[in-house]
């Protein structure tokens, strides 16, 4: 079984990797690029813990093959903060205690970023439907939604 050679841009940096044909983008990020911030909760696109942004579009990285990343630009949770400076979503998640175990948090943050990139002023209902692809079992979503709405307001300033 021969491996694929793939060139892509990950978090703004050019990367090259070899991956087996059946390996997902999530496998590549976690196992080959040491970017373990994206999590595998289901492997079937149902939980959103592996959310990444591919060429500006929100994706479950468990549903995309590593080989399909050729020539694409991928942004993961690891690129959300600018150095020491947290993104307003990250800051608001902390202030609102919008995470308990923290496992779903990277996926929520990436999905919320994708929402605010496209709709800077979402209603609560729009935020709830956009984030319905991300499962959180700890918080009941209340504080997550509050954090997202507050971060949206911060970003509009």
């Amino acid at each position: 079984m021969s491996k694929h050679h793939v060139s892509a841009t990950v978090n703004g940096e050019p990367v090259e990797f070899l991956c087996e044909p059946q390996e997902t983008l999530l496998d590549v990020l976690r196992d080959h690029l040491n970017l373990t911030g994206s999590k595998e909760g289901c492997g079937s696109g149902d939980c959103g813990a592996c959310s990444v942004i591919v060429d500006g579009r929100l994706m479950c990285s468990c549903l995309m093959l590593g080989a399909e990343a050729e020539g694409r630009a991928i942004d993961t949770i690891e690129s959300l903060a600018q150095g020491e400076t947290l993104h307003p979503l990250q800051q608001r998640f902390l202030e609102h205690a919008a995470l308990q175990c923290g496992f779903c948090t990277p996926g929520f943050l990436v999905a919320a970023k994708a929402l605010l990139d496209r709709n800077p002023n979402p209603t609560e209902s729009e935020a709830r439907y956009w984030l319905a692809g991300n499962l959180c079992r700890c918080t009941g979503y209340d504080k997550i939604i509050r954090a997202v709405m507050d971060a949206a307001a911060d970003l509009r300033k």
Partner: protein, 757 residues
């Protein structure tokens, strides 16, 4: 309570592990790697019940890249022995057989062999090459079918405990228990209204988003390292030591960050197997469950059948209450029917009550603890029945509960006399809440339900080390499942008089901190918080001693105020206060490093109560239920970090709503699970829920330095009945069977229409 004026406790600082968790840096179970690690995978039974005739792994072992295969033959054949290292008693032998089937596979997904290989793909190929010959046996899934005289037997030697005279014929009923107070028959004679009904609940999974994961490495000298995600590194150590017959001192378990547990990570599934594989091939072995494996092979909680009968006088006084609980344990004995019985009527001050419980095995995965294990199942029945009875006698459901509420001095059917409880306060807060008065529209209804949980104490260790720059480290032994590091650091900061940012907590491995019972039973903020507080107090004693040395005055003449040593009393002399940082800087000259340590068995836990108000709207055409508004009132003793207390309540409510409306294990006729994934096992998503208002009531626990009771489990107890009662209020249809999914509600609406014709 020792601390009345508080500076840190009760505030909402950012949690100390927060930045790592919003940047993706936190290391969860599957994030750790070791040099030379192999991939471990499990071969699982496709049958619900089958004798394992033969396992031939020779073809798998011949595959290049395969380094080891283990079966039950590689595990010590340990005797029956009850263990109390997890949440609830567990038989070590059963646990061993659950990790790796011995002789029989008892449920679909039961592990029968495991392989370690160089890649995931090779491990998958190897699993397919392991040849297992089964003799398929008749199976039984549902609890009442499993209790039948002619049911297929899972364990041919299982004789029901708790029955006199002791039975001689085996059955699937592991245990019967009875809790009783007063004279129920007489009580029902005095009743002027009686409601009697049977309720059923389906098994539901904790559904933590992080699948079980670990990495284990055995050394040739007998020592072993395990890095895993669990609710207790000491629990993992104890189970692995017993299951593999290793000295405890030879195992070091490092806790990963844990991606949710809710009780489901209080057992071992992977760790003993990964270590057995590692011992066999000499390389670290990493094992991570798939979501399908989590559903099929790790513990959901029981489904149950609950019969409830309650009688009351017209003035609202309950005269008698009776319940019979039948809980599925899964493939091995040990459902949470005991706490289910004890919690069933713990909200009420009853003179006459009898609760009978049955622990029943069937061909399903062994249940694991799930948030207030057992209580939600019995409470769904009791609180639905209470609602029906309140309506029957024409009383407001909150007033009816208040009239019969357990108070200080109430003797519970299961033994204790309650003290320092705050149930009445939750009812009062619910009654006064604007939510309770808000008008409702067509097809909308309001339901109320209450719930109880014990909360526990137990063994905890902690150390507080004062650093030379005047900052501090808190070392504790309980995995932080929902923000407990923050609570630990806050209590230490309060005692030391430091700002929270100067106190850093760590959750240490099993070799770096003393034994700590697992994170469960809503115990950590209470028990480990007590240990941390005592350790910090010990450090303060030492700090005062160093000031005494510095000033050359008796230590008793020195008080610790706002993080500073101050001379007090007439004879103490006049010295400017010495700050913690000043004392720490000179510690080498005054006696060496400063710190405190506590290893305790925390006593004096106080139970928690909650009362929930739920508004729903029912779409009678589709059977879909929308949660319009939800308010959860709970007595927590004292909220150390109110945001995380609210979060526990909100999260418990969301899980309860899922249990009420959607979640269930669905089996086909062959006993195979049909919905082992999040698409078909539907947990609530963001768009299913409104904001959930948590109302925190604080009736302090005087036996904790800050008044803590515990918070995490109570909130999952009331929601199922609150939702069902709201549905009745909306459309007049009583739903005694969970989940109240659209097809089931539609069918009930149709039945009502047919009956009316």
């Amino acid at each position: 309570m020792a601390y009345e004026t508080l500076k840190v406790v009760g505030t909402r600082p950012i949690r100390p592990d927060g930045v790592d968790k919003v940047t993706g840096r936190a290391q969860f179970g599957a994030d750790m790697t070791m040099p030379g690690q192999l991939v471990g995978k499990m071969k699982r039974s496709p049958h619900a019940h089958a004798r394992i005739v033969r396992i031939d792994a020779s073809k798998a072992l011949a595959l290049p890249g395969v380094k080891a295969v283990v079966t039950a033959a590689d595990f010590p054949d340990i005797p029956d022995e009850m263990a109390f290292v997890g949440e609830g008693p567990m038989n070590f032998r059963d646990l061993s057989c659950n990790c790796m089937a011995r002789d029989k596979a008892l449920y679909e997904g039961h592990a029968v062999a495991a392989v370690a290989a160089t890649t995931s793909a090779i491990a998958d190929d190897a699993l397919a090459l392991i040849d297992v010959v089964y003799e398929v046996l008749p199976h039984v899934i549902d609890v009442e079918a499993a209790m039948a005289e002619d049911a297929p037997l899972l364990h041919p030697r299982m004789l029901t405990q708790g029955v006199q005279p002791a039975p001689t014929k085996p059955s699937n009923i592991a245990k019967k228990m009875v809790f009783s107070l007063g004279d129920v028959a007489q009580g029902f004679k005095e009743a002027e209204a009686i409601v009697q009904r049977k309720y059923t609940t389906k098994p539901v999974h904790q559904a933590y988003i992080e699948p079980h994961a670990c990495i284990a490495a055995a050394s040739s000298d007998g020592q072993a390292q395990i890095f895993s995600s669990s609710q207790g590194q000491f629990m993992i150590r104890a189970y692995v030591a017993k299951l593999l017959s290793i000295d405890i001192s030879n195992i070091r378990v490092t806790p990963a960050e844990i991606g949710g547990g809710f009780g489901g990570k209080t057992l071992v599934y992977l760790e003993p197997v990964a270590l057995a594989l590692s011992k066999k091939c000499g390389r670290p072995v990493k094992m991570v469950m798939s979501r399908e494996e989590v559903f099929k092979a790790s513990g959901p909680t029981s489904g149950g059948a609950v019969e409830v009968k309650i009688g009351a006088k017209k003035d609202g006084t309950i005269t008698a209450a009776e319940a019979t609980l039948k809980y599925q344990a899964g493939a091995f004995a040990g459902s949470p029917v005991g706490p289910g019985c004890m919690a069933a009527f713990a909200m009420y001050d009853l003179k006459n009550v009898t609760i009978t419980g049955y622990d029943v095995v069937s061909n399903r995965p062994k249940v694991a603890a799930y948030r207030a294990p057992g209580a939600p199942i019995s409470t769904f029945g009791v609180e639905s029945c209470i609602d029906e009875l309140a309506r029957k006698i024409g009383m407001d459901p909150v007033a009816f509960r208040a009239k019969n509420a357990a108070k200080n001095g109430t003797k519970a059917a299961y033994g204790p006399t309650f003290k320092d409880i705050g149930y009445v306060e939750t009812l009062e807060a619910a009654r006064k809440h604007p939510h309770y008065q808000q008008p409702l529209g067509k097809n909308q209804g309001r339901g109320v339900a209450s719930g109880f949980w014990f909360n526990i104490g137990g063994e905890s260790s902690a150390a507080v080390n004062i650093n030379e720059d005047g900052s501090a480290v808190v070392v504790e032994g309980n995995p932080d499942i929902g923000g407990s590091r923050a609570a630990m650091a806050m209590m230490a900061a309060e005692v030391l008089g430091l700002p929270i940012e100067r106190v850093r907590p760590i959750v240490a491995d099993t070799s770096s901190v003393g034994y700590s019972f697992l994170t469960g039973g809503s115990r950590v903020t209470f028990a480990t918080g007590m240990a941390v507080t005592q350790a910090a107090e010990q450090a303060v004693v030492e700090l005062r001693k160093r000031a005494a040395v510095t000033w050359d005055i008796p230590v008793d003449d020195i008080a610790w105020v706002d993080g500073k040593a101050q001379p007090v009393g007439a004879s103490a002399g006049k010295f400017p206060p010495l700050s913690l940082a000043e004392i720490a800087l000179k510690s080498a000259r005054t006696g060496g490093p400063i710190g405190g340590k506590a290893q305790i068995n925390a006593q004096g836990a106080a139970p928690g109560y909650g009362t929930h108000i739920c508004d729903v709207e029912v779409d009678q055409e589709t059977g879909h239920v929308t949660i319009l508004r939800y308010t959860a009132v709970q007595d927590v003793g004292r909220a150390i970090h109110p945001s995380y207390v609210e979060g526990q309540i909100q999260g418990g409510v969301a899980q309860g709503i899922g249990w009420a409306l959607n979640e269930e294990y669905i089996y086909d006729k062959d006993g195979r699970l049909e919905n082992p994934g999040f698409l078909d096992y539907r947990v609530p998503v963001c768009s299913d829920l409104p904001m959930i208002e948590a109302v925190v009531v604080e009736v302090p626990n005087p036996r904790h330095p800050f008044g803590v009771k515990g918070v995490g489990e109570v909130p999952i107890v009331p929601p199922m009945a609150a939702v069902a009662n709201a549905i009745y209020d909306a459309i007049g249809v009583r739903m005694p069977d969970l989940p109240i999914s659209p097809p089931r509600l539609r069918a009930a609406i149709d039945r009502r229409a047919e009956a009316a014709e």
